[in-house]
Every structure is written in structure tokens, then in C-alpha cells.
């Protein structure tokens, strides 16, 4: 029974529509990103995600990068549990004053060379939370940022495209 179940679930059904142009674009994007990462780093890309005060919307879409539609791991893009294993910090949210120190410490714990990507409208300048007594500002108010991916939240494909744009600037030195 189990076997049957697995098969019926895993096998693509005959009725499955061919991948839409959008899906194909995502695939293309992720592949290039993986390649670029290998070229720049000589290996796959390890990302540590840090929520510095987001509403959790950005996290949902970053999460989606791991679902079977995007499945970024197949291209050598991995989310890691510790900043010490990371090449890149993917930071979301307006940085709250209550999180500023934790973010700074996470940055310091990430070995160079490293990149910082700020995700979402909040990550740029605090978004609609800017000016609050509890908000320090965008990500760059606390740590240096290499790239910003706008959106509220940016879709998984936007995030992929953003990461690619960063690695594409092959000349850009990572911070050490």
C-alpha cells in the first residue's frame, strides 16, 4: 500500500500541464545562480537567514524557495543553521531596536568573505515601520548591505533573481 502511495504521489501524472513559462524561468534562474555561486566561491552557496523584526511575510516566501517548485537546494544553494557556516546573510524586516544587537552579533559571527542581502521593503529603510521609536531602520542601519531585494514580500522568483544579480557582479569583492 505504502509503495503504491509513494509512487502515485511521486510520479508525475499524465494530466500534469507542461511547465509554464514562469516555471521555466525560475528553473533557469536557479541554475544560473548555482553556477555563479560555484564560480565566485568555488563551491555552493550557504545562506543564513536572519529575521531582524519582520512581519514574517518575507520568511514565508524565503521558505517557499525550498518547496518542490523552486527547490533551490538542487542548484547548490543551501540554507544553513549557523552564521559560522554561511557565505551570505539574508536579512528581513525593519531592524527593531530589540534585534539590532543580535543582528550585529550574527554578522560578526559570519566568516569573511561574506555578503549581506536585505530582503523586502522593510529591509531597505524600515518600510512602513520607519520612524517608530522601536525601529532602528533598514538593515544597512546596523550592518553593511550589498544588495536589496524589494517587495512586500518579494516573491520566491524575485528573491532568486536578486541573489543572481548579486553573484553576477563577479567583480564585486565580498566583505572579509
Amino acid at each position: 500500500m505504502r509503495k503504491l502511495l509513494f509512487e502515485s504521489l511521486i510520479k508525475p501524472t499524465l494530466t500534469e500541464a507542461p511547465p509554464s513559462p514562469a516555471d521555466a524561468a525560475v528553473e533557469e534562474l536557479a541554475k544560473t545562480l548555482g553556477k555563479q555561486a560555484r564560480r565566485s566561491l568555488g563551491r555552493s552557496l550557504s545562506i543564513r537567514e536572519v529575521d531582524a523584526g519582520s512581519c514574517n511575510g518575507c520568511e514565508l516566501e524565503i521558505h517557499a524557495l525550498n518547496n518542490a517548485f523552486y527547490d533551490v537546494e538542487r542548484f547548490g544553494i543551501r540554507f544553513v543553521a549557523s552564521p559560522r557556516h554561511a557565505d551570505m546573510l539574508l536579512v528581513t524586516g525593519p531592524v527593531t531596536k530589540n534585534m539590532a544587537e543580535a543582528l550585529k552579533r550574527t554578522y560578526d559571527a559570519t566568516p569573511g568573505p561574506k555578503w549581506v542581502v536585505a530582503v523586502g521593503d522593510c529591509g531597505l529603510d524600515g518600510g512602513c515601520f520607519a520612524g517608530s521609536y522601536a525601529v532602528a531602520g533598514g538593515v544597512s542601519a546596523v550592518i553593511p548591505v550589498d544588495l536589496h531585494i524589494p517587495g512586500c514580500p518579494p516573491s520566491p522568483s524575485d528573491i532568486l533573481a536578486g541573489l543572481l544579480a548579486l553573484l553576477d557582479e563577479t567583480n564585486r569583492p565580498a566583505r572579509s
Binding site: 502515485s8 504521489l9 529575521d51 523584526g53 514574517n56 517557499a64 531596536k97 544587537e101
Partner: protein, 504 residues
């Protein structure tokens, strides 16, 4: 039958605000109500500060009546509710941090949102500058032979929100968990004060990303309650459609994530696909994957066309086809059940006492569902069941989600079938004087409460949003006791409390 507060409150005319009972009461009534909160049918729905006033919302579970009680605090203090009723304690601590209102005899004098990093104290009350010192937080002591502490967070290992967990363990076994939250405190209620309705609505939509529809709906309905306007019928039905789609997406995500934390990744993979289908259908039908900013005071901003209806229909069809096999897989996988059954058990008594909503409450015998209890449109005319279980463990919380997915599929079908035609937005207008309004809305996680006061100029004077997590977080501390540390992620995921919604 009369609600439990009716014997306590003195006879007086109810104040003319919105569709709920509002009473300004005195200290003796306040204290007597506090003492009655541990009664059989009494539930604390919320407690929040304002300049010089403290308010609480109550529910009587027997009659489903809701009341808001306001107590003036001319000297900045009031008798603590938390002293009599533990679920109020964190709310009181938050109100003190924000407004400087001190609960007299509150058993817990420690700050909650204020981590000593804002450069000022009581930002929403008589704000006073104070250099940020980030003073250390005093965790509760746990003493005994062989105990050790494990601090976790605020930055966690996964792609999740920040918060701090302090475990005290004896070997593998957790003897105490203490949470420290407030890391994502953005000052949403401060930003809302004085904001236009549009700006406040967009802040409400960004209070908790996974519940953006629920928050927008709660805020919009509170505004409509205050201004006595009604959204057009088509808007009401479109709102319910979005709310159910949001529930569907989140429950599917949760079921997969819980199983994944029990090291059963297959389920995550399949549920993740279904969740993505829901988000893509939302994008196609409403123009945003999370349906953010679609619900506004007065109605909705996006209409649904035939193409949108077809996309949602296809998505429903796929879930109907694939979901039963996943349920069977969950039910028949012994290694998975071994992790979820009897893990993290929440007793019905505790769930009731804290008025726990959503799957946390319903997996522990508390049947409350705002869609049923408040019967707001269009749920008063839709047919659905509210699943309830008694076991209270991780397994029960998974099953409640599974049953709710099934109910939601049927609700979406009913809504699509009966969607009325017509306009989707009415102008909310301006009040003739200050007006208060409130709404209780069932999000995927439980009931979201929105209370607000609109000033004469049409701006928000004060708005309070109470996430269901306020009454679920403390219970997570209770259920982990006696479980092994390795089961914490599983328990935590099965609660899936919101950080941002709680921290505001």
C-alpha cells in the same frame, strides 16, 4: 441566561459605541470581575492600555456575549487582573511598558516588550527619555540538583522569527521553559496613533505576515463597527473567500512543517506543493500571493473575475485529489505517530482557563471559533463544522488542522457557489465624534481581536490588535514540561505561535 459580568456590574446604560457592550466601570467592579475570571464560562479576550485608561474585553462562553470594560486610572495604576487570572499577566506587562500604567499587586513586575533599548520609556503614555542600557532580563529561577540551562535565540536555526527560549533541563528532560518575547516589537500601535485609516489598515496588514487577511479583516470590521457602515454583500463574501484561502495555505504549510520536525520530510514536500498551489491561485485571483492589502475598511480592493474563479476551482480540485492520500500517509506511518502521539499534551482545563483559540484550543476540548460564536456574515449562512478533540497532544493539533482543511475546502466551494454580484467597496465616511469599534475574527491560528477609537477628524486615536498567540505562548511553556528537549521543535511547530503578531 445572563453573562457572568452582569451580576457584577452596576445598573447603567450601555454606552453608544459600535455593536458591542461597552461599560466604563469603577475599581470595585474591576476587581470583582477579575475574581470572577476563573469561573466556568468566563474568558479574557484581551487587556490593553490607553492614555489614562485600561480596558479589557471579556467573553462569556455560555452566551457568547462579549463586553469591553474600561477603567480610568487617574493615578496611573489599577488593580491587577493578573493577580487573579494568570493569562492577563503578559498583557499587563505590555501595557505597563507602553503606557506606564501600573497593575497594582501584579505578581510579575518584569518588563515584557521593553528590553531597555528604545531610548525612552512608556512610548505611548507620558514618554520619558532614558538612555538604552539593554539591561539583563531576570529569568525565573529553577533550582535543583543536576539542572542545567540551555539558552536558545533570539536568532534561531531555521527560517523563523526571533524569540528567546530559556530551558532548564535535567538530562534530556525539560523541567522549565521560559519564553522571552518582544524582539520583533516594531511599535505598530504607536505608528497607528494619529494615522489615517488607510495607513493604519496597511499597518494592520503587516502585523503578522501569515495572517495578513485575518488582520485586515479584523481591522476593517472594527472600523466599520465604529462608523456604523457595512461593506457591500459581495465584499463580505470575497473577504470570507480570502480568509478561508489563507487558512488553507497556512494549515497545509503547518501540517508539512510539523511532520518535518518529526524527521518525516516527505510530508513537507507534498504539503509544500499544495501550499504553493494555493499561493499561486491567490496571486492569479487576487493579484498577491498572500492577498495583502486586499481587504480595507469599507470592502475589498480587488474583484474576482471568471478566470480567478476557475483558478481557485482548479486549485481546490487538486487538493481534493491529493490531500486524502497525505492524510492516510500521516495516519499510517507508525514512526511519525510515535513522535506526535502523547507529545506536548495540553490539558482541557488549561486551554479553557487561557481561552486558547484555534487548533491549540480545539485540540484540547475548547470549541470556540469566532466564525461560529460571533456568527459574522457570511458564516451565519454557511454550513461547516468546528472539529474538536480532547487529547491535546501534537497529534491532536495535526488532526484539527487536517479536519479544518476539509471544512475549508467545502467553505470555499460554498462561497464560490453563492457569491453575490454587486459593488465591492463602500466609502467608510467620517464620524461625527470620537467612536469606538471592535471586531473578533477567526484567523487560521485563532481569534484576532481588533479594538479602535476613531477621533473626530477621522484618524485613528488608538488601535489595539490582539493576536491569538497571547494566550497560546504561555501554554507552550506548560506543555513542554516533562518532555525531552528534542521534542521541543515538534511541540513548538504544532503551536506555531506568532512572534510578530504578539510583539506588535
Amino acid at each position: 441566561m445572563a453573562a457572568f459580568w452582569q451580576d457584577i456590574l452596576k445598573d447603567r446604560e450601555a454606552e453608544p459605541h459600535g455593536g458591542w457592550q461597552h461599560h466604563a466601570i469603577d475599581e470595585s467592579e474591576w476587581t470583582e470581575t477579575a475574581e470572577a475570571l476563573d469561573g466556568e464560562t468566563a474568558v479574557l479576550l484581551g487587556l490593553w492600555g490607553d492614555r489614562g485608561t485600561i480596558r479589557m474585553a471579556l467573553l462569556d462562553e455560555a452566551t457568547n456575549d462579549v463586553v469591553v470594560l474600561a477603567l480610568a486610572c487617574p493615578d496611573g495604576t489599577y488593580p491587577s487582573i493578573g493577580k487573579h487570572h494568570a493569562p492577563a499577566q503578559r498583557l499587563e506587562r505590555a501595557a505597563r511598558d507602553l503606557f506606564g500604567l501600573t497593575p497594582r499587586d501584579c505578581p510579575d513586575p518584569r518588563p515584557w516588550f521593553d528590553h531597555g533599548r528604545w531610548d525612552l520609556r512608556h512610548p505611548l503614555g507620558e514618554a520619558a527619555a532614558e538612555p538604552a542600557d539593554g539591561a539583563a532580563y531576570e529569568f525565573l529561577a529553577a533550582e535543583g540538583e543536576g539542572l542545567h540551562q540551555i539558552p536558545v535565540g533570539p536568532v534561531h536555526a531555521g527560517i523563523i522569527e526571533p524569540g528567546h527560549f530559556r530551558f532548564t533541563a535535567n538530562g534530556e528532560t525539560v523541567v522549565r521553559l521560559e519564553e522571552r518575547l518582544g524582539y520583533t516589537h516594531k511599535g505598530i500601535e504607536g505608528l497607528m496613533a494619529g494615522a489615517s485609516l488607510d495607513r493604519a489598515a496597511s499597518l494592520a496588514a503587516r502585523t503578522s505576515g501569515d495572517s495578513t487577511v485575518a488582520y485586515s479583516l479584523a481591522f476593517a470590521r472594527a472600523v466599520e463597527d465604529a462608523l456604523r457602515v457595512e461593506a457591500p454583500p459581495r465584499a463580505v463574501w470575497l473577504r470570507a473567500l480570502m480568509a478561508e484561502i489563507e487558512r488553507l495555505a497556512n494549515h497545509l504549510g503547518d501540517i508539512g512543517a510539523i511532520c518535518n520536525d518529526a524527521a518525516f520530510a516527505l510530508m513537507l514536500a507534498h504539503c509544500g506543493v499544495l501550499r504553493e498551489r494555493v499561493l499561486r491561485a491567490s496571486e492569479a485571483a487576487f493579484g498577491h500571493r498572500l492577498m495583502r492589502d486586499r481587504i480595507v475598511p469599507g470592502g475589498v480592493t480587488t474583484d474576482l473575475d471568471d478566470e480567478g474563479i476557475d483558478t481557485i476551482g482548479l486549485m481546490l480540485g487538486e487538493i481534493r485529489r491529493r490531500f486524502p492520500a497525505l492524510v492516510e500517509l500521516y495516519d499510517n506511518t507508525a514512526s511519525l505517530q510515535d513522535r506526535t502521539v502523547t507529545t506536548g499534551s495540553l490539558s482541557p482545563a488549561l486551554a479553557r482557563r487561557f481561552g486558547a483559540g484555534g487548533f491549540v484550543g480545539r485540540a484540547s476540548g475548547r470549541a470556540f471559533d469566532a466564525r461560529r460564536a460571533c456568527a459574522y456574515a457570511p458564516y451565519d449562512t454557511l454550513s461547516f463544522e468546528v472539529p474538536v478533540l480532547m487529547a491535546g497532544d501534537v497529534d491532536a493539533r495535526v488532526w484539527i488542522r487536517i479536519r479544518e482543511v476539509e471544512q475549508t475546502l467545502s467553505l470555499v466551494e460554498q462561497i464560490l457557489d453563492r457569491m453575490p454580484a454587486g459593488p465591492i467597496l463602500a466609502e467608510p465616511g467620517k464620524p461625527s465624534g470620537p467612536r469606538e469599534g471592535m471586531a473578533l475574527v477567526e484567523g487560521f491560528r485563532g481569534d484576532v481581536l481588533a479594538w479602535l477609537r476613531i477621533d473626530e477628524d477621522g484618524h485613528v486615536g488608538r488601535c489595539h490588535l490582539r493576536d491569538p498567540s497571547w494566550f497560546q505562548w504561555p501554554l507552550l511553556e506548560a506543555v513542554i514540561e516533562g518532555n525531552i528537549v528534542a521534542d521541543f521543535p515538534l511541540c513548538n511547530k504544532s503551536f506555531n505561535c506568532s512572534y510578530s503578531g504578539h510583539d506588535l
